[in-house]
């Protein structure tokens, strides 16, 4: 791979170790993602277990965990240059701020319905 990538992946060594074999780690991450998806699906079956008021927080935590695992491990943000993390996070933060303001303007957080 190019020198560019060598400088990008800080924990890479020389030669073939330039790209360490992380395949088993990717499989483990995928298993965790599958387990979280199973938990998310499980929340739908209220007759089996009713999460009550905890439903939305549980789902949001599951969603955030999956988002983090994919971005950090599969998209390599965990090992890549911090500037890439910042570029992506900037987009996410701007989107969250803009659309939180939009939803607030439509009184979404007050009633869950647009006025």
């Amino acid at each position: 791979m190019s020198t560019t990538t060598e400088t990008t992946h800080g924990d890479h060594g020389a030669g073939h170790d330039e790209h360490p074999n992380r395949d088993m780690m990717y499989v483990k991450v995928a298993l965790v993602l599958a387990a979280i998806t199973g938990l998310e699906t499980f929340t739908y079956f209220e007759s089996v277990f009713d999460f009550g008021a905890a439903l939305v927080p549980v789902l949001l935590v599951c969603m955030t965990a999956k988002f983090y695992l994919i971005a950090a491990y599969f998209m390599h943000l965990r090992w890549d240059k911090p500037v890439l993390r910042r570029a992506f996070l900037t987009g996410i933060v701007i989107a969250l701020l803009v659309y939180a303001a939009t939803l607030a303007a439509f009184k979404f957080f007050a009633s869950g319905m647009p006025s």
């Binding site: 791979m1 190019s2 020198t3 560019t4 990538t5 400088t7 990008t8 073939h16 330039e18 790209h19 074999n21 992380r22 395949d23 990717y26 499989v27 991450v29 995928a30 993602l33 599958a34 998806t37 998310e40 699906t41 929340t43 739908y44 439903l55 939305v56 789902l59 949001l60 599951c62 969603m63 999956k66 988002f67 994919i70 971005a71 491990y73 599969f74 998209m75 390599h76 890549d80 240059k81 911090p82 500037v83 890439l84 570029a87 992506f88 900037t90 987009g91 996410i92 701007i94 989107a95 969250l96 803009v98 659309y99 939009t102 939803l103 439509f106 979404f108 869950g112 319905m113 647009p114």
Partner: protein, 215 residues
Amino acid sequence: MAETLAAPATDAHHDDHGHGHTNTGISNEKLAMWLFLGSECLLFGGLISTFLLYRKKLNSFPGFENAEISKLGAQLFDIPFTSVSSFVLLMSSLTMVLAVSSLQRRDEQRMRIWLLATALLGASFIAGQIYEFTAFVKEGLGFTTNIFSSAFFTLTGFHGAHVVIGIIILMTMFAMSLQGRLGPERAEALEIAGLYWHFVDVVWVVVFVVVYLIK
């Protein structure tokens, strides 16, 4: 910026694959993809916000005049089916990252297998989405039935279009590999395509919870 100061020695050079070095140590193509993905957050943020605002606007859907969203979820969405679709898309992210890893380790044969598996899993997801859309239309919920359906089809349709574009990119790379134009020296091109694919997966992670699971 620290990385700007850290890599000035190579600024004026090009690597052995024709990529110009940048003062960030990251190729322009990769940085451009990440900036593009950042901007895509705004696109999907807008679509998700619109859905959240109008998800209870079911007025003109027969039988749902006074329905609550929980009733809609229970009667219209097939959650086990959508969960399987979500699982399929998640696994396509695994096969994608394994394809990149294989090429970086110069195992082109295995890379092609994982690349093809990724495209097939993506196509399975799209097939599931077409089945779901068809079922909704047969139930009487078309694109213009009510504001809810318009917001729903726009959001999931835009996501589906992104998946289709991703499949086209993957198949193009598969063809390039067969022609010997996607060797280990171009592993970063595959990695960049992978970033797009993983982003599409990440968006579905949010859509699955916000649209299908939160009542």
